[in-house]
Symmetry: C2
Subunit: 337 residues, 2 copies
Amino acid sequence: MKLTFRPYTLQLKEQFTLATSSRNTTPAILVEIEQDGVIGYGEASLPPYLKDTQESVSRFLSNLNLQQFCYSHTLDEVLDHLLKESRDDSAAKAAVDIALHDLYGKQHNVALHKLWNCNLSAIPPTSYTIGIASEEDIRRKTRDADQFKLLKVKLGRDTDKMIINTIRSVTDKPLCVDVNQGWTDKHHALDMLQWCHEQGVVFAEQPMPAEMKNEIAWLTERSPIPVIADEAFQRLSDLDEMAGIYSGINIKLMKCEGLGQALKIIQEARKKSMKILLGCMTETSCAISAASQISSLVDWTDLDGALLISNDCFDGAKLSDGRIVPPDRPGIGVLPI
Amino acid sequence: MKLTFRPYTLQLKEQFTLATSSRNTTPAILVEIEQDGVIGYGEASLPPYLKDTQESVSRFLSNLNLQQFCYSHTLDEVLDHLLKESRDDSAAKAAVDIALHDLYGKQHNVALHKLWNCNLSAIPPTSYTIGIASEEDIRRKTRDADQFKLLKVKLGRDTDKMIINTIRSVTDKPLCVDVNQGWTDKHHALDMLQWCHEQGVVFAEQPMPAEMKNEIAWLTERSPIPVIADEAFQRLSDLDEMAGIYSGINIKLMKCEGLGQALKIIQEARKKSMKILLGCMTETSCAISAASQISSLVDWTDLDGALLISNDCFDGAKLSDGRIVPPDRPGIGVLPI
């Protein structure tokens, strides 16, 4: 197996505003793993709030020796080697994991969602993010989102109620909210979640800072809607702790080290009766198509990442009836453009 | 692909007594599917309370044409053809599904549990059934079950409390109860479930007749322990109805048409926040090893079926630390003895 990679800068169609920052691009690294002429594609997306950077990913990939693996090694063995390579580097590992799974699917002529017995008709609609903006812009964005069945709102500023009221002046579609740790008073947070519930919000991500564990547990117990861990949840080893604090988790391939670990997390979270959101960063259709392979296994998806960039370099998963549906091709199903 | 089959009679080590019948043998059909010298093994176990018989399975298998399938067909396509062959014949389909999955795993040199990213360390302990018997026999059987961490008791007669009290005089291990539709008064059933809960019973299977849907829904709402559908639940198409009546379901490969459908049922049941028990009939280590491939995905297992027969003709999944653990071999991992 031969691994190559190159940096790529994702151009955002619109400026991306969270509670804490704004930006116009997302750095990424594109990965290829080749074996006897078959190529598996992978991607690391590296928004600034992740520990991984283009530099750290490049360093990790340069040190990773896949040449030692041949057909006598199972995918399982290669993934095991990958995960043990370092303690961190979750996005770099996700990129390699995606490329290895893509290669495996192509070598065995099977789409991953078929390999894993996933039922495509059970894929939940993706949410589509209406960013923090002026009332007029919010109305326009809401109207423009007519292809989507679930709208996501970034809260955590003093404009929270204005944003939701403005959206509600245009549509009665279900909403979800991502507070990005923006609320710090648990009583205010509970008031807001109750108000959100009355406005047709179906779940809330990371309402308070991840380190305020006791307050979030208090909030989850009282909240009328599920409280989902995002910043607080990275990977499988975090799951046990989450169960006592949150109703569910947001799994993102870039946080959790790839598809193999994501599947394990889903299995364990279900045993703990936890809700599951499958999310993404801004990503090309490469990483989004990878995520779409397992999207029928979760309660909600937030896989609009490739729709937010103007320079997608893969043809892959497509929006269909409000859902991001994987291509009917082997592996993750992408074709480079 | 070439399919062959033969009848086989499973000899039970001890007479098997349910609320409604007793027996010493279970009819079965053993299946082989061969492609270029590689053989996949499957099994249909046919206890008398299933619709399928050795005759109906033989008829189904004789009519099934797998010769039309070659390497250019995906496993998915063959399974699809299998399921559409008839409306019923769930055990016959399970036998073919198991053999096809075994063949696939061997052809790709991968154990199915690895293909499906299952975490073997998450396999729950199997229950071991203490049959309806005299007090002395129950004490002996309970003491003999020292390798097991969860004991299952068949209730539904006038001896219910005696049985549990007798077991409790020997051990404080967790118990589960299978009433096999034996209670018909919902108030009595609730009293019993509350009493069972106090005795350390962790779930109850089919406390009342499957057709008493309103009464079971009433019971489930009030029960201190999960109420699991067994006789009421056969396959994927039954799942929607179960969600409003029971806390969870008992999935058995022989009922649900095999591994492919079992995986789909698990995925859908989890979205409905339902509990899952993975059960079995009396079966050889062939069908038990197949079930063990997915056992890490469920809350409880009841996979003692091969331990109850004296003429097991496969080496396969083994009891280890109270759990039925799949072999570390490709496919379902069995070797004919």
